[in-house]
Symmetry: C2
Subunit: 348 residues, 2 copies
């Protein structure tokens, strides 16, 4: 199985010569710069500042971060087990909501029982596994949407998505955008609508960049325009990614997702979540137990570096929201389709 990228795209996160390579996502779409991250602190800082972001990319980066610590400890003649656990403690704190980060870290720590090289191998194996997983999600999601959820099988669809759950949120392919790409490959996409995703504009910057690169017709909208477009019948299906899914099917994803799900429910439009099994947190009973990351006020008070509000004004900046299971038509993973709105749980 070729675990390389599709369409000649560079991998978003990769393992180089004993270092982590990552596309700096804060500089897209203007510049495509590859970061060379040589130690855990540099990687942690790249995650905190969202140079590396996206649930699956964080999972892989977390695992590679532990491998990075092991390699550095070996070079210095230090204890690799201590170094790996120290790295894990630093990395897991960088982003609280995405469960994949901790999953990738734990995966590599567990492999450490087989020795340092086994752990590094487990980490680098996450790269290819992510691509394989996303390819399976894309196929299953496209199949579900056009054979079952949308009632106009002969027609091309208008698909709405939020934030970026594309190749840039993973190693390659992505989840929600993987589904859109697969639908496009089958000639089923009339238009992809990308919500800009304030405050950090991942939709405008990253999703539009990816859709343009795939030559999929796309429109950018402000986040709050989605509900009106959905209720006016413009949108056939909404497909989004996820940062953590509770056992009952509640979905934490980028702030703004919930409003789209509410509008879809109101309008009878299917609302689909595409995510790997690793995003499902079996230990988390429901959305109310998912920690919601509160980010800096400055992200809201400024827009593209320009201050928007008068001085002295405060801001609230929850980076995620929780869409209750009852609003989620389907969760598509690499292994199964779960239908939370019909009462199906992810785990008992």
């Amino acid at each position: 199985m070729n675990a390389g990228t599709s369409e000649g795209r560079r991998r978003t996160v990769d393992w180089g010569d004993d270092e982590v390579l990552a596309i700096d996502q804060t500089l897209l779409p203007n510049d495509e710069v590859v970061l060379h991250l040589h130690d855990v602190e540099a990687l942690a800082e790249a995650i905190r500042s969202l140079r590396i972001r996206g649930a699956m990319a964080l999972g892989v980066a977390g695992g590679l971060g532990v491998a990075l610590a092991i390699r550095r400890a070996q070079e210095r003649g230090e204890d690799v087990i201590d170094a790996a656990h120290e790295a894990a403690a630093i990395l897991v704190k960088t982003r609280p909501t995405a469960v994949n980060l901790g999953w990738g870290i734990e995966h590599v720590l567990a492999a450490l029982e087989g020795g340092a090289q086994a752990a590094v191998d487990a980490a680098t194996a996450l790269i290819g596994a992510d691509v394989t997983t996303n390819r399976a999600i894309a196929k299953a999601g496209a199949e579900l949407v056009y054979t079952e959820l949308v009632d106009r099988r002969d027609a091309q669809l208008v698909v709405l998505t939020h934030c970026n759950a594309g190749a840039l949120a993973s190693v390659d392919i992505g989840t929600a955008l993987g589904v859109v790409e697969e639908l496009h490959r089958r000639g089923r996409v009339l238009e992809a609508i990308a919500c800009e995703t304030r405050p950090l504009l991942q939709g405008a910057r990253l999703t539009c960049f990816e859709l343009a690169r795939m030559e999929i017709p796309c429109s950018l909208v402000v986040d709050s325009a989605a509900a009106g477009l959905i209720t006016r019948g413009v949108v056939d299906v909404a497909v989004v990614g996820a940062d953590r899914i509770a056992a009952n099917g509640d979905v934490a994803n980028k702030v703004g997702t919930l409003a789209h799900a509410l509008a879809c429910r109101h309008a009878g439009v299917p609302f689909v979540v595409a995510a790997p099994e690793a995003t499902i947190d079996a230990g988390c009973p429901s959305g109310s137990e998912i920690p919601i990351e509160e980010r800096s006020e400055e992200e809201v008070l400024e827009f593209a570096g320009v201050r928007t509000a008068p001085g002295g004004v405060r801001a609230r900046n929850p980076a995620f929201d929780v869409t209750p299971a009852e609003l989620v038509t389907a969760i598509v993973t690499e292994r199964r389709v779960i239908r939370p709105a019909a009462g199906e749980r992810c785990w008992p």
Copy 2:
């Protein structure tokens, strides 16, 4: 009755020495510049470019625009009736969604039957009438919220609003922010949450400016954060303005309003619309007949000259959305409270 502004504030729209005076709202909160508009074309351009905006301000400006045309025709010895109707035709086309604009224009045209001076008097009388109307709405709205809608009469409230329906959207006081100001005066406001209102950020620029000026504790949020805050129980009541209300109680307001109403319904939070009777369009049976203004793509693709999406990407930019009557707990006007969610219509 003193028709001057409250708290020493400058009137947003006013009649000067045979000219229209208006605060340039595109320059706020950084600069408070008063425009002197001497002819109808200058006024029309100020409306198109949103230097003058807000439903009630547009109503008054429309009426004053006809007065402006009458004064200029008199100076040039031209026919005032022709001039007034020409002005009306130009002005009514500047913004399609807000019904108040046409209402103000028609009000002054009707007065023209009593002669040129009667029409000018009718136009300038709109200024004081707007303040009186908004004062009545503010009182009735505050009364409704804390004696009936919110179940914690002893507590201070967190009030969410969208866009700007304040003094800057009218001559003074405003509708939704008038209600917030009145609640604050009665010691009932713990926090006002202002949604930034992409794409043009009227919430960040104008509502935060007004809340700060009134010394009401406020938080700015991105529009898409509102749904999560509402469903997490942070918000006690949402109060917004309106640009046009259909006879059945469907409400057109700034894009983004609908998502807040859907979240309020989901969470059981009251959703209140504060608007003058003039905003109710008895001739419009339902929201599907309300024209939705589609504005320039550039408003979405850039901010303050900074492009957010890659080149070649298109945008959709509906400036308003329609909240169906079933989601509207109450509409408060200067004369009555209508409860659309309980099945009450604005007009038979």
